[in-house]
């Protein structure tokens, strides 16, 4: 099947694939930036002892984790206009990706914070540190290090999830691949070109993760 691949057509559509690649890259980076922001806020709320602060975070995280991304996408795509909010598809796409990924990011960071022993917190409290000082100086530096790997994993999931935005006619990688299929009736060429571009994105992320963890080795350890 792959032996009979029409590489000439694939090269011909390279500019479109490249456009799709850039678009997916943009959707993913802005989407993940949004997810980190939402995730950190939701996580900060979810670890508060006061119930009414925790409640909105719990509702958000549960609602996102319990429903499919596609349903969330359609819900906003068809639901927002009914509320009189008309947004460009691309913006809806970024919002959905951020909302969806943010819930998982919140859980990842929360697990890192909960892994810090009570003794660390008590030592910091006993020395007179404020809540924010404890977070900034003691808890977060220890909590975030082990979350980097799962966060990169979440970013990779987000890159792939962004392909669903093709369903609300956002032009990105998957959509660009579909164009080869539609224009030339060559679905496999389109899919292979798309897959190669996703692979490239995946390795870019892996490379970034490697650089990050090299620069942030635990001090005093190899």
């Amino acid at each position: 099947m792959l032996g009979s691949l029409n590489t000439r057509v694939m090269l011909e559509y390279l500019p479109d694939i490249w456009q799709g690649f850039l678009s997916t890259l943009m959707l993913s980076t802005t989407g993940f930036a949004g997810a980190l922001t939402l995730g950190i806020i939701a996580c900060a709320l979810s670890i508060q002892p006061v119930r009414w602060l925790r409640a909105p975070a719990t509702v958000y995280i549960d609602a996102v984790r319990a429903t499919p991304l596609l349903a969330q996408l359609y819900f906003l795509y068809f639901g927002l206009p009914r509320l009189g909010i008309v947004l460009p598809e691309i913006l809806i796409g970024i919002i959905v990706l951020s909302l969806n990924s943010g819930a998982y990011v919140a859980e990842i960071i929360r697990s890192g914070i909960l892994a810090i022993s009570r003794g660390q917190v008590e030592a910091a409290i006993s020395s007179g540190m404020t809540y924010l000082q404890r977070m900034r100086l003691i808890i977060l530096p220890q909590a975030l290090r082990p979350t980097i790997s799962p966060l990169i994993g979440q970013a990779i999931v987000l890159v792939k999830d962004s392909s669903l935005l093709s369903l609300i006619s956002v032009v990105e990688l998957t959509r660009a691949g579909q164009m080869i299929a539609i224009d030339r009736f060559m679905p496999i060429e389109g899919l292979v070109a798309t897959a190669l571009a996703y692979l490239l994105l995946y390795y870019l992320l892996k490379l970034l993760a490697g650089i990050w963890s090299h620069q942030n080795r635990l001090p005093g350890r190899a």
Partner: protein
């Protein structure tokens, strides 16, 4: 300096501190001992507000811990706490562990804090380990860093919660030596420990607790040689079996 008046504490329905009356004066060294679960750790954890209590009064260095307006953070700056499990910050060097709170809580400059921190680490015999991370240090060394960390805040009171219980036997003395010299310098100390040698050497008083209540208070010599209550005799016979 520390004054408990009729203090009571419950964990749910469990009555963990019962009618505690105790006054510790400036410069006094008080050793607290008793069987496990007798409330001795809870007692000293009340002193810096790590544990709340439900009834009675506790005044520490002029701070009334029962009042709603107590500025716990200010109190904690004056009260050092040394944990059984050291609780050093694993991502900071020994020197950074010691200087972190002085810089961020006391507002010392880094240079000032470093000077103070180096002097203290030298004092506890760790001049050559200042740049080491906690995982590179032995238990005894870690606990000495933890003591230096508390001292660097220049507290008025030092609390020790079984500081040698997590240590290998050969490391216990290096920690006790530091505590003995601290006691001799006149620090106000409350120490939860079963180290009878330490108690004999520097304690002004020994308090024996059982089931949440103070059962006996005595000077160390008479406590160890002639305990008054049945329960302390029973306890000592189990601890001093050699």
């Amino acid at each position: 300096m520390i004054e408990f008046t009729n203090l009571n504490k419950w964990f749910g329905s469990l009555h963990v501190l019962k009618d505690i009356d105790l006054a510790v004066t400036k410069g006094e060294v008080v050793v607290v001992c008793g069987p496990s679960g007798s409330g001795k750790s809870t007692l000293i954890r009340c002193i810096n507000g790590l544990e709340p209590f439900q009834k009675g009064r506790l005044v520490v260095d002029g701070f009334d811990l029962g009042s709603s307006s107590v500025r716990l953070r200010e109190l904690r700056m004056e009260v050092g706490f040394v944990f059984q499990s050291f609780n050093l910050y694993p991502h900071k060097t020994a020197l950074e562990n010691v200087t972190l709170a002085p810089i961020h809580v006391r507002g010392l400059s880094k240079a000032e804090a470093d000077d103070r921190g180096r002097a203290l680490l030298e004092k506890v015999g760790l001049a050559d380990r200042m740049q080491s991370y906690p995982h590179q240090l032995s238990g005894g060394q870690q606990q000495r860093v933890a003591i230096a960390r508390s001292l660097c805040m220049q507290p008025k009171i030092m609390l020790f919660d079984e500081p040698t219980s997590a240590l290998d036997p050969e490391m216990i003395n290096e920690v006790l030596d530091v505590m003995v010299s601290l006691a001799r310098e006149g620090m106000t100390m409350m120490v939860v420990t079963h180290e009878m040698g330490f108690a004999r050497k520097v304690a002004d008083r020994v308090i024996f607790m059982d089931r949440g209540a103070i059962v006996e208070t005595a000077d160390p010599e008479s406590f160890f040689t002639n305990p008054q209550s049945e329960r302390s005799r029973d306890f000592l016979s189990k601890v001093l079996h050699h």
